[in-house]
């Protein structure tokens, strides 16, 4: 019997689309002074990939472009979500980025701490433990 490679192509496009988007959105948000510029560029790139998917005859390339395009369109939305994570303190603010400096001044929850950069302890952290982590950062 012959193997059907379309599933592997779809799997690779899905995994790398999600992975690259996940890392890139965080890195660009950290340094970008605006949200609208990277979000708009991701939107244009995502639409272009979808148009490519529609016009290419080859099913493998169409599948890869279509899946990657949708993940890039999602990344466009993620730039706004990441901006709000920084405001809520769920993602670290960059003290050298003027947009993040503004957030740090305006939002009491915003922080330079990367809360997720820790190993699970197996129990819920107590309020004073969280407080000590914040104090240690200052």
């Amino acid at each position: 019997m012959s193997l059907n490679w379309i599933g592997l192509v779809a799997a690779l496009a899905t995994f790398f689309g999600v992975w690259i988007g996940h890392v890139t959105v965080r890195k660009i948000d950290y340094i970008s002074q605006t949200v609208w510029l990277p979000a708009s560029l991701a939107f244009i790139l995502g639409i272009s990939l979808e148009l490519g998917a529609l016009y290419i005859e080859n099913a493998y390339i169409s599948a890869a472009l279509g899946i990657l395009g949708i993940t890039v369109l999602w990344d466009s939305l993620e730039f706004w979500r990441q901006h709000h994570r920084v405001i809520r303190g769920h993602a670290p603010a960059n003290p050298d980025n003027p947009r993040h400096q503004h957030i740090l001044a305006e939002s009491s929850a915003a922080t330079t701490i990367d809360w997720l950069n820790r190993a699970p302890s197996g129990r819920q952290l107590l309020a004073d433990e969280l407080h000590n982590i914040i104090e240690a950062e200052r």
Partner: protein, 111 residues
């Protein structure tokens, strides 16, 4: 016009969206130490997709497998989110996965 890419993209969006939900529930009920079993399941689904003759069936199975592989790398981060109080923390004891001692010594993947 070739609609396969667009339709598979929309299918991927739905499957990845569901990924957010099942990772939260699986971490809550099982705990993050189950991640290798989800990684294995995802890899098996991707390999299985090679054997499905239908183009759509194979592609959907591949997307599902990749999404479960990605989910397995999110377990540890999700456990930290619950410990920080960002998501509900399960106070009840959770079942140990088989070979829990070995799994604890492995670095859990975080991408």
């Amino acid at each position: 016009m070739n609609f396969i890419g667009l339709f598979l993209g929309i299918a991927a969006l739905i499957i990845i969206g569901l990924g957010f939900l099942w990772v939260i529930r699986a971490e809550y009920h099982l705990g993050y130490l189950w991640w290798p079993y989800f990684l294995g399941l995802g890899i098996m689904l991707v390999i299985g997709s090679l054997l499905v003759p239908s183009v759509w069936g194979s592609a959907i199975l591949g997307i599902l497998g990749a999404s479960i592989i990605w989910g397995s790398t999110e377990f540890t981060t999700q456990a930290v989110r619950t410990e920080l109080g960002w998501y509900p923390f399960n106070q009840q004891p959770r079942p140990d996965p088989p070979f829990v001692g070995k799994i604890k010594r492995w670095p859990s993947p975080r991408l």
